[in-house]
C-alpha cells in the first residue's frame, strides 16, 4: 500500500552566551576538563538560586525572528521533573506553559514552508559516559542555554527533513546565536515520524528518534522509519508509540525505554524565577540587530551569483557577509568572480576554516579582481595572489604589491611587448620556426609564444603576444 509520511522535528540549539543560563560560570567547555565549568547552581546544592542570563533572552529574540516567529511578551519558566544522573536538580528548568517564541515558519530553499509551533528556552543536561559496570557524569553542559524549536508536522519526505534541519542550522548561524558546531552537539535533532495510507484522515502512530546530530543522520533515520513502519502496516501489525535510538554505523533505529508520559514530568511553575515581561520597544530594539538572513541573500544575489554557489556560500556566514560587504563598492562581475574564488579556491584549501575568521579586506579583493579584469593577472596568477591574501605573512600588503613581489603581473604594454617579440625574432634559433609558420605550419606559434614568455620571465600576456607575433609574421 502507498503511505504518506508525516514528520515533525524538535531541534535543540545551544546558545553561544559567555555564561550559563542560570549562573555566572563559563559556558564554553570546548577543550576543557570534565566538571571544570560548573557552579554550585549546576550542582543543585541546597539553597542555590538560579540567576537568569539576560543575553539568552536577547539571543532567543534573534533566533525567533530568524524563523519569522512572534515573540511572546510574557514568558515563564517551569520545572520538568525526572530522575537521572545527568541532572543533579532532579528537574530541568524549561518553558512549558508560556514559551518565549511563538508561531512562525521556515522557508526551505525549494520554497516549501515548514511552520514553527513554538520555541522555548531551557537548560541543557549533563553528559554521561557509560562503562561496563558504571557510568561517569560530567556536568560541564548542565545549564548551557538551549532553545528547543518545535516544528508543526509539515514535513512529508526525508529530503525535506534534511533540508529543514540544514536551513535551521543556517538561520541560527547567520543570526549569530550559536557556534553551530554539529560535531560537538551544538544542534541536536529529534524526529517524530508516522505514516498513514494515502487519503487517510487521521495520522498514524508515531515513533520518535532522539539525538540525531547530523543532517545526513536525520535523512537516513526518516527513511529507515518509513520503511520499518510500512513493513509493519503491510503485515497487518501496529506501530508502537515509543522512543527509538539511532545507530549511525548500522543505519537503523532500535526501541528504547518506553517514554514517560507528560503527566509523569509533574510540570510546575519555577518558583525561583520571576516571569519575563518584555516591552514591545525592547523586543523591536533587539530584533533590529538581526543581520541579513539566507532568504535575503538569495533574493539579493539571485541574478549575480549562480544558485549552487550561493547555497554553498550560505553554509559559511563569514563569506556571505564578505560578499555583501563587497556589493557596497564592487561591480557585479567582481562579485561573481570573487564568489567563484571563495568556493572553488578558498574552500578547496585544507586550512580554509582557519581563514574564515580573518578574511581579506573588501578593498584587497576588489583590487585583485580588477587586476584580473584588466588582464594584469592571468587566471592562474589571480588564484595564487588570492590565496596569498589569506596568508598571515602576506596579508595586508595589498593584492597589487603581492602580485608585484611574486612577479606575476602580466606585461600588457604593447610597446614593451613588441620590443621583446623583436628580440626573440632576431634570435637565430627562432628562424626555422618563423619560416615554418609562414609556410602554414600553424602550431609552431605556440613555440614562439613560449620563447617570448621565457624572454619576459613569464610576465607577458600570452594572448597579446600571439597577436603581435601574427601581425609581424604575416
Amino acid at each position: 500500500m502507498k503511505y504518506i509520511p508525516t514528520i515533525g522535528i524538535e531541534c535543540h540549539v545551544q546558545l553561544k552566551t559567555k555564561t550559563k543560563l542560570f549562573s555566572e560560570v563559563d559556558n564554553d567547555a570546548r577543550g576543557k576538563e570534565p566538571n571544570s565549568c560548573v557552579s554550585p547552581v549546576c550542582y543543585a546544592l541546597p539553597g542555590m538560586l538560579p540567576r537568569l542570563n539576560g543575553e539568552a533572552i536577547r539571543l532567543a529574540i534573534l533566533a525567533g525572528r530568524a524563523m519569522n516567529c512572534e515573540i511572546n511578551p510574557v514568558s515563564r519558566f517551569d520545572r520538568k521533573h525526572y530522575f537521572y544522573p545527568d541532572s543533579p536538580k532532579g528537574f530541568q528548568i524549561t518553558q512549558f506553559y508560556q514559551p518565549i517564541i511563538g508561531p512562525g515558519y521556515v522557508e526551505l530553499p525549494s520554497g516549501v514552508k515548514i511552520r514553527i509551533e513554538h520555541a522555548h528556552l531551557e537548560g541543557d543536561a549533563g553528559k554521561l559516559t557509560h562503562f561496563d559496570t558504571y557510568s561517569l557524569v560530567d556536568l560541564n553542559r548542565v545549564d548551557t542555554p538551549l532553545i528547543e524549536i518545535v516544528s508543526m508536522p509539515d514535513i512529508h519526505s526525508s529530503k525535506d527533513a534534511h533540508d529543514y534541519c540544514k536551513e535551521l542550522w543556517r538561520l541560527m548561524c547567520h543570526a549569530g546565536v550559536t557556534y553551530g558546531d554539529l560535531y560537538n552537539g551544538n544542534m541536536r535533532f529529534d524526529i517524530n515520524v508516522s505514516i498513514a495510507p494515502e487519503g487517510a484522515k487521521e495520522l498514524g502512530t508515531r515513533a520518535e528518534v532522539k539525538n540525531l546530530n547530523s543532517f545526513k543522520a536525520v535523512e537516513r533515520a526518516v527513511e529507515y522509519e518509513i520503511k520499518r513502519q510500512s513493513k509493519l502496516l503491510d503485515a497487518g501489525e501496529k506501530v508502537v508509540q515509543e522512543t527509538r535510538g539511532w545507530d549511525d554505523g548500522a543505519g537503523k533505529t532500535t526501541g528504547q525505554r518506553s517514554k514517560e508520559e507528560a503527566k509523569d514530568y509533574r510540570y510546575m511553575p519555577e518558583p525561583d524565577l520571576p516571569p519575563i515581561n518584555l516591552s514591545s520597544e525592547f523586543i523591536e530594539e533587539e530584533a533590529s540587530k538581526l543581520p541579513l538572513m539566507p532568504s535575503d541573500y538569495r533574493k539579493k544575489f539571485k541574478k549575480i551569483i549562480r544558485e549552487d554557489i550561493i547555497e554553498i556560500l550560505l553554509d559559511y556566514p563569514e563569506l556571505m557577509r564578505k560578499i555583501e560587504e563587497l556589493s557596497q563598492s564592487g561591480k557585479e562581475s567582481q562579485l561573481t568572480a570573487i564568489s567563484n574564488l571563495f568556493v572553488s579556491v578558498l574552500l578547496a584549501e585544507e586550512k580554509s576554516v582557519e581563514y574564515l575568521n580573518d578574511l581579506p579586506s573588501a578593498k584587497d579583493l576588489i583590487e585583485l579582481s580588477e587586476m584580473n579584469e584588466k588582464k594584469e593577472l592571468s587566471s592562474t596568477a589571480t588564484k595564487e595572489v588570492f590565496l596569498r591574501l589569506f596568508d598571515p605573512q602576506m596579508k595586508g600588503r595589498g593584492a597589487k604589491n603581492i602580485a608585484k613581489e611574486l612577479g606575476l603581473i602580466q606585461e600588457n604594454d604593447l610597446g614593451a611587448l613588441e620590443e621583446i617579440v623583436d628580440i626573440v625574432l632576431a634570435k637565430p634559433e627562432t628562424k626555422k620556426a618563423q619560416d615554418d609558420f609562414r609556410a602554414g605550419e600553424e602550431k609552431v606559434i605556440g613555440f614562439l609564444v613560449g620563447q617570448v614568455m621565457k624572454e619576459s620571465k613569464g610576465k607577458a600576456n600570452p594572448s597579446a603576444v600571439q597577436d603581435i607575433l601574427r601581425k609581424k609574421l604575416a
Binding site: T17, E33, P34, E55, G90, S135, P274
Partner: protein
C-alpha cells in the same frame, strides 16, 4: 480524588525512592489529606481569576552575561560526590 497504593508506588519510582510497606501506607494517607485540603478550592469559582504563578510580583530579573569567580572549586564540588573517577562523578551504570 482518591490516592491509590499504585499511585504512591508510581510516584516513588519516578523519584527513584524505595519505600517500606509502612511508608507506602503513611505517605498515602498524608497525600490523601493534602489533596482533600487543597480540594476545598474546587468549590470556588475561579473562572475570572488569573492563575498565581508567584507571589513576589517581580518580573524581568536577569543579569549581565559576565563570568564571575565561583564560591566552590571543582575539587570541593566533586568532593561532595560519593565516588569520583577522572574528575567525573561515578554512578551505578544507568542506561
Amino acid at each position: 480524588m482518591e490516592i491509590k497504593r499504585e499511585d504512591i508506588l508510581h510516584l516513588a519510582s519516578l523519584s527513584n525512592f524505595s519505600l517500606s510497606e509502612d511508608e507506602v501506607t503513611s505517605l498515602g494517607k498524608d497525600l490523601q489529606d493534602i489533596i482533600k485540603y487543597i480540594s476545598q478550592l474546587d468549590k470556588l469559582n475561579t473562572d475570572e481569576i488569573e492563575p498565581t504563578y508567584q507571589v513576589f510580583e517581580m518580573e524581568n530579573v536577569w543579569r549581565e552575561d559576565e563570568i564571575l569567580p565561583q564560591d566552590a572549586s571543582r575539587e570541593e564540588l566533586l568532593g561532595l560526590a560519593q565516588e569520583e573517577k577522572e574528575h567525573q562523578i561515578k554512578v551505578p551504570k544507568v542506561l
